[in-house]
């Protein structure tokens, strides 16, 4: 596949690995923000082959993993209603709520449908005027323009049976929360390439400055990750802390303006809870009042939903980069992909699932370090 496969060349990858090893005079600690990047790193064994030069801490860049428990429970409630067709991206279906997950609601007769694009959900609403269609609008800034367009389009088409359950989060506030944490060990960041395709990187310049950390906007293929890591290590070796762009084939400094504009029209910044981390002010997106008719939280009675997290789950510590998944005593024992305690074990790109599915040969399970 053009513009994809060539970034997986193993010979070039090995060259970059060698180059990183040669450049590093000591071990550096980097955080990759995005779950898609975590997936590539663990699946390819990048952290394994570079472990003497770089420690990778996996950040909270998994919107599925950080969706607050209350939102999952609200989704489950809506999906259980006989008058609702509940539509969602595939990743959300196995995320555990307080008592079960969307797949189990489906088993019990709830109509739950996977869609690829939010516009597909709008189509379903158009095709079924007698049913209420709710779309689970999760994601980072990358997905916000798509979700915004779905709402915009529903309004344009005059649909009164379409609404969205919003659980959008934004990256820079989360990075600040991580950097402000006194136990933060992160010395440099690989910023999420597709988030920056939308937003550009101007928001990261003050962060690099204030906290003295290099931030490299990085793509998702092995060569992208390795090149991004190399650029970050070079900065650290040279004592620089700037924002650089590795993912030049897709990201420009100003980002995608039309996308930013529609997001700003449809959404506004709100405080948002991050599952396992807590509430981060102004870190989320909510629908503007003008679009209240499309807000599932206003349209349906969801006030009674309460949320309860299992005690053993240390998702928060994993998502903040404090521990590695295998350092959690439940990892691989009580908590496995088929019986997950928390979202990072369920979601395909959650750090715990990535380690369990790909990395188990390297690390013991059950809390041994």
């Amino acid at each position: 596949m053009r513009y994809l496969s060539e970034y997986r060349d193993p010979d070039l990858a090995r060259r970059l690995v060698d180059r990183i090893r040669d450049t590093a005079t000591r071990r550096w600690t980097l955080m990759e923000v995005c779950g898609g990047q975590t997936h590539t790193i663990v699946k390819q064994g990048i952290d394994e082959v570079l472990s003497e030069a770089v420690e990778m801490i996996h950040g909270p860049g998994c919107p599925v993993c950080v969706t607050p428990l209350e939102q999952i429970d609200r989704a489950l409630h809506l999906a259980s209603r006989p008058d609702v067709i509940f539509t969602s991206f595939g990743d959300m279906l196995r995320v555990p709520g307080s008592e079960c997950d969307l797949l189990q609601v489906k088993a019990r007769g709830g109509e739950v449908r996977i869609v690829y694009s939010p516009l597909d959900a709008v189509e379903i609403a158009r095709a079924h005027p007698d049913r209420e269609v709710v779309f689970f609008a999760v994601g980072f800034e990358t997905t916000a323009p798509a979700n915004a367009m779905a709402v915009w389009r529903a309004r344009q088409l005059g649909l009164d049976n379409f609404s969205v359950l919003v659980s959008h989060v934004t990256v820079p506030p989360a990075m600040v929360a991580i950097l402000e944490d006194p136990s933060c060990r992160v010395q440099g960041f690989l910023a999420a390439g597709h988030v920056c395709t939308i937003m550009g990187w101007t928001e990261y310049e003050p962060l690099a400055d204030r906290y003295g950390v290099p931030i490299v906007v990085t793509g998702f293929e092995p060569l992208d990750i390795l090149e991004g890591m190399w650029m970050a290590v070079q900065q650290l070796e040279e004592g620089r802390h700037e924002v650089e762009n590795q993912y030049v084939r897709s990201v420009r400094r100003e980002g995608n303006r039309p996308a930013q504009d529609l997001v700003a029209r449809v959404f506004r910044a709100v405080d948002r809870g991050w599952r396992g981390i807590g509430t981060i002010p102004a870190s989320g997106l909510g629908l503007r009042e003008e679009f209240a008719a499309f807000d599932a939280e206003l349209k349906f009675d969801l006030g009674h939903v309460r949320a309860e997290e299992p005690v053993a789950c240390r998702a928060g510590d994993v998502l903040r980069g404090q521990i590695k998944p295998f350092e959690c005593s439940a990892f691989g024992t009580e908590c496995t992909p088929e019986r997950p305690l928390g979202a990072p074990m369920v979601s395909a790109e959650g750090a715990c699932a990535a380690y369990f599915n790909f990395g188990r040969l390297r690390q013991p399970v059950g809390g041994a370090v």
Partner: protein, 352 residues
């Protein structure tokens, strides 16, 4: 504000794991399927034949040995690029018998038809079945049909049960893999699953992908002729993909498997997998098998497969190892290792 007339929230009695009902994941060929088998079927039905957990059962009958296998086919849509449920129903059971080293002779067929199914569609499926049966040299000798109400059966469900003859001396079986054995994959993977997905509402995309449904008999015959008892295990990689088939054998034989090469994935299939975030190793096939052969005959086995059009792209993907018994691992291009585990249920398309 819409207030529901009956306030029924989620009321799962047991946290997190739905212990009371069957889920779709139980049919995926992954861990849930294995658990269902282990916890419900084996304790009740288990006997020395069933416990072998082969694709079929080798049974003594009147001084001879026969092989019996059954499979039920549930697919939506009924017709898809490359075939229909009728092709799957014949090839699926023929292939299960072939994986046991048997020569299939007879099939029985059981149908559950949905009220409202168009008779033209039924005719197409039946025509495909008889055509496939003739090509595989099997006879459909008995059958049954039931009809259920509109809304059940997705149009049509079909079960086929096959009976075959097991020639002596050729008994591949899931427990026979040994360290050092070579692991082969007979051809390009993930075609069937992605052909089906392309036709599904909500994920619809247009693709140059056709199901690979076919009989594996010719490939098995070629292996048997060239390598004979050097073939340790054969398994057709259906639901759950190549990854699941390899895991089943690793588990049954209590050995580790280390993969060094990926099986071939056709361009459009790869593109479709990328689009949905799916790993081709876990996507269903209907015309691919994994073969474990003794180390000395790997070259001959590959040559035998490649001489046949359906095996032209056969590859050696790895070896059986002593380390990490029960676990399938893959060496990445960078020299790292990753585990290729059974998934809990079906792979889900992802956005992240």
């Amino acid at each position: 504000m819409i207030v529901p007339s009956t306030l029924q929230g989620p009321s799962c009695a047991v946290p997190h794991v739905e212990r009371q009902r069957v889920q779709l994941g139980h049919g995926s060929g992954g861990k849930l399927s294995a658990a269902l088998l282990r916890e419900h079927f084996l304790p009740r039905f288990g006997n020395r034949y069933l416990h072998e957990l082969g694709d079929g059962a080798v049974l003594p009958l009147g001084g001879d040995e026969v092989v019996l296998s059954t499979d039920t086919f549930v697919v939506n849509p009924l017709e898809f690029p490359g075939g229909n449920i009728g092709h799957l129903a014949v090839h699926g059971t023929v292939n299960d018998l072939a994986m046991m080293g048997a020569e299939p002779k007879y099939l029985s067929v059981g149908f559950v038809l949905e009220e409202g199914l168009e008779l033209d569609v039924l005719a197409t499926i039946l025509d495909s079945m008889i055509e496939a049966a003739r090509a595989c040299d099997v006879e459909i000798v008995t059958g049954d049909t039931k009809v259920v109400e509109r809304g059940k059966a997705d149009g049509l469900y079909v079960n086929t049960t096959g009976l075959g003859h097991a020639p002596g001396g050729f008994r591949p079986g899931p427990r026979r893999a040994r360290p050092g054995d070579a692991v082969l994959v007979s051809g390009p993977i993930a075609r069937h699953g992605m052909a089906i997905m392309a036709a599904r509402e909500g994920l619809a995309f247009d693709a140059d992908i056709e199901s690979d449904t076919c009989s594996l008999l010719p490939l098995v015959a070629a292996l048997r002729k060239r390598v004979g008892d050097g073939v340790r295990c054969l398994r057709d990689a259906t639901r759950g993909g190549v990854a699941s088939a390899l895991n089943e054998i690793a588990s049954a034989s209590d050995v580790g498997i280390l993969l060094e090469t990926s099986p071939p994935v056709p361009g459009p299939v790869e593109a479709a997998c990328e689009m949905l975030g799916l790993d081709p190793l876990y996507v269903a096939n209907e015309g691919v098998m994994v073969a474990f052969v003794a180390p000395g005959v790997a070259g001959s086995a590959l040559a035998a497969l490649r001489a046949h059009p359906a095996g032209a792209e056969a590859v050696l993907v790895g070896h059986v190892v002593e380390e990490h018994p029960g676990i399938v691992a893959l060496r990445t291009g960078l020299g790292g290792t990753r585990v290729v585990d059974l998934l809990p249920g079906d792979q889900l398309p992802r956005i992240c």
